[in-house]
């Protein structure tokens, strides 16, 4: 009876207030005062607080149902702008031109949450549609620059099933890769098209372990030509990945002392050797062995890439070091294309250096650049042979984009403000195989070019909003 009386009295009193938060805080203050005065017990205060919360939740729900444009409440906007100076210099500049270009990248994202279980993501980006780059050079006598659709996808997560979601459309890459300076299989700008299923299962006393699986079924092209006998063999890319993330020590699960993430998977293409399919190559991402005869524009065969990748982040001390979190990060990856055709080059116009099917990398980094005053630095060594993975999707900053290169990358970043980051990346790379040049990414092939090194320095100023 006492609960009921207090609830009614408080409810009536608080209904006269305006803001919901103020009402909740006011209710708490009154209940705390009543407890302190010994008028009600802590348990009675808790019972009343729960009843009031429940009444307020019902009122908020009713209010929400009555709104005409409630969908606006579920919209989130985000974006970033990056200004870049990009210098490329070759050891022998008489054979290959050095370049200095100034570029920008703009991304404007919107997220519409229609229901708790359904979200649409939409992002516009600068660039000309290159799958591995949203950069746009300042060029062509002030010509207006294009905007493209970077992502448009829907994510469905059944209510109460927080272990699974399904994504459809042109999406942010759901496949996990460590935070490399230069990623191996997919450039960070790759936004695959198709369907993906993302699964996770969290367990442990402090929810410190997470098993995850990412399965992507992506469309590479829709072949419309009727002249090709292969017109029905549209190319696809599939990626099946499983892994575990584990935290140890520290503040679990959010801020562990040691965090280990490891994943293994299988990336395979289907029908990329269709004569009707020419992989996108504006970025200069070429280097894979092609077929022969009428197949010279297509990759020699489909790719079957088995990979293992991992990252270990260790919080050396709770104290910052020169303003940045004392986090040491070690990451690595090994990729092997097990498609037999690339091991022998049978059926290829390319006969030099078969079995260029291995890629590997490791990286050591320190710090974290997320908030004002924080910085990070990382060194990476990368060795990526010509047929180790599908070259159309690899990092566009490595060399001048593409594959068949080995070398070093050092990257540093400093956050001037939470929203403003300065960064410098240096790539020193050289060609691995003796295969002739087939694109500017493969500079340094046979003859006097072989072994020629390329130095690329990128300076970025990035703004988040």
């Amino acid at each position: 009876m006492k609960h009921r009386l207090i609830t009614i009295t408080l409810g009536a009193a608080l209904a006269l207030g305006c803001a919901q938060t103020a009402r909740a805080q006011g209710g708490d203050a009154i209940l705390d005062l009543l407890t302190k005065k010994g008028i009600i017990t802590q348990r009675e205060a808790n019972d009343v607080r729960e009843q009031l919360d429940s009444q307020m939740a019902q009122a908020v729900e009713l209010h929400g149902k009555g709104k005409f444009s409630s969908w606006l409440d579920g919209v989130k906007f985000s974006g970033d702008l990056r200004l870049r100076a990009d210098n490329i210099s070759h050891e022998d500049y008489t054979r290959d031109s050095d370049r200095l270009r100034f570029r920008y990248r703009l991304r404007l994202g919107m997220e519409f949450q229609f229901q708790e279980w359904a979200t649409v993501n939409f992002r516009l980006a600068s660039g000309d549609g290159d799958p591995v780059s949203t950069n746009q050079s300042f060029t062509d006598t002030f010509k207006k620059k294009p905007i493209t659709i970077d992502t448009i996808s829907v994510t469905l997560q059944p209510p109460g099933w927080n272990w699974v979601k399904v994504i459809g459309g042109k999406m942010e890459n759901p496949i996990w890769q460590p935070k490399f300076n230069s990623p191996m299989v997919y450039d960070n700008d790759v936004t695959p098209e198709g369907v993906a299923e993302v699964l996770q299962y969290t367990f442990g006393a402090n929810s410190q372990y997470r098993l995850f699986g990412q399965f992507g079924q992506f469309v590479l092209d829709e072949i419309s030509t009727t002249s090709s006998r292969n017109n029905s063999r549209d190319p696809f890319l599939l990626d099946f990945q499983a892994g575990i993330e584990a935290g140890f020590g520290g503040e679990l699960p959010k801020k562990p002392k040691l965090k280990v993430t490891a994943a293994g998977g299988f990336m395979l293409t289907h029908n990329v050797n269709n004569t009707g399919y020419t992989p996108f190559s504006d970025s200069g991402n070429r280097g894979n062995a092609n077929g022969s005869g009428s197949f010279t524009n297509s990759p020699l065969a489909d790719f079957n890439v088995v990979y293992g990748r991992g990252e270990i982040a260790y919080l050396i001390s709770e104290k910052n070091f020169l303003g940045t979190p004392s986090v040491l990060t070690l990451s690595g990856e090994v990729d092997k294309n097990i498609a037999g055709a690339y091991e022998t080059l049978t059926g290829s116009s390319q006969t030099i250096d078969p079995d260029q099917t291995l890629g590997w990398t490791f990286q050591l980094g320190f710090g974290e650049a997320k908030k004002k005053g924080e910085w990070q630095i990382a060194y990476q060594y990368k060795h990526q042979e010509a047929d180790s993975t599908f070259d159309s999707l690899t990092d566009s900053d490595w060399g001048t984009g593409g594959i068949d290169r080995k070398g070093h990358c050092i990257k540093g970043a400093y956050n001037v403000r939470d929203w403003w980051q300065l960064g410098v990346s240096t790539f020193l790379t050289s060609k691995i195989s003796n295969r002739p040049n087939s694109g500017h990414n493969t500079r340094g092939g046979i003859g006097p070019d072989h072994g020629q090194e390329m130095l690329r320095i990128i300076v970025d100023s990035s703004f988040k909003f």
């Binding site: 802590q42 348990r43 808790n46 006393a205 520290g250 001390s317 910052n320």
Partner: protein
């Protein structure tokens, strides 16, 4: 007939057996264990298991359902309440269990008797590094503190250090008992922790303002609001679990009997009107 009766009685007791798990604050581990010991003696059908790990760990355990009760030496944060609302569709239930004077300890031989908040801030942020600067001997100050999952760490940082970071030289100890052990062997040592700990070290008087009157961490000074680093120690519980054996245990902890245990351990009982 007698064996059958014995078996039936054993079965009845087993059927009624209740397990209560408690996880969280290291400061509250000795209190929780004493509560468990006394309560289990009085209620043979109930098993109470108490573990530490820090208040943050306890709240995480509450969220993932791996504990019935969370012991916390700091109030739950708004972000953690929001996570509870998401998970339980209601706020967690909070019970103040007793009062604590968060104490500042030095070695027994240290001639310093009191420190002010500005001095403590200077010492624990590393600006003051020698006892001479606060009227003590010419001796380097050696800092002892807790892990950041500890509620005591957070409370001290927020209320005494004005949210500034602890000096990088602070030795991070896994519990208050370890802080005490370290200081007892270290002439220049200083640390902080609950009032129930502190055998073998000296509890300093503390004043809020520089040059202000310093007060000892006594029960009377805590009730009168004179000692400036006073806090409640809490139990948090998911609303659905606040029933049956768990609710009975919490009610007992804040009853006269439970509060006698509080006093016995070294913390300060809640005033009767606040239970």
């Amino acid at each position: 007939m007698k064996p059958i009766l014995t078996i039936l009685m054993a079965l009845a007791i087993t059927a009624q057996a209740q397990n209560i798990t408690i996880k969280g604050s290291d400061t509250m581990v000795i209190l929780g264990q004493k509560w468990a010991e006394v309560y289990m003696k009085k209620n043979p059908g109930v098993t109470v298991q108490v573990t530490g790990g820090g208040s943050g760990t306890g709240i995480a355990a509450l969220l993932n359902g791996s504990t019935d009760i969370c012991n916390s030496s700091r109030p739950i944060r708004p972000s953690e309440v929001a996570e509870c609302v998401k998970k339980f569709k209601a706020r967690p239930r909070e019970y103040k269990t007793c009062l604590d004077a968060l104490s500042v300890y030095v070695q027994k031989d240290n001639p310093i008797e009191s420190l002010s908040f500005p001095q403590l801030e200077g010492i624990f942020t590393g600006k003051i590094t020698n006892w001479k600067a606060v009227g003590g001997p010419d001796l380097p100050i050696s800092l002892y503190g807790r892990e950041n999952s500890s509620g005591t760490y957070e409370f001290f940082k927020e209320h005494v250090l004005n949210k500034k970071d602890f000096a990088a030289s602070t030795k991070t100890m896994p519990g208050t008992a370890a802080v005490i052990q370290g200081i007892a062997k270290d002439k220049g040592g200083i640390g902080y922790g609950g009032i129930a700990y502190g055998e073998g070290v000296k509890h300093l008087k503390v004043s809020k303002a520089a040059g202000g009157e310093a007060f000892e961490p006594t029960e009377q000074n805590v009730f009168d609001g004179k000692y400036p680093i006073t806090r409640y120690l809490f139990n948090y519980i998911a609303p659905a679990k606040d029933a049956g054996a768990v609710a009975a245990f919490i009610s007992w902890c804040i009853s006269d009997e439970g509060q006698a245990v509080v006093k016995d351990v070294g913390y300060f009982p809640l005033p009767k009107n606040m239970r």
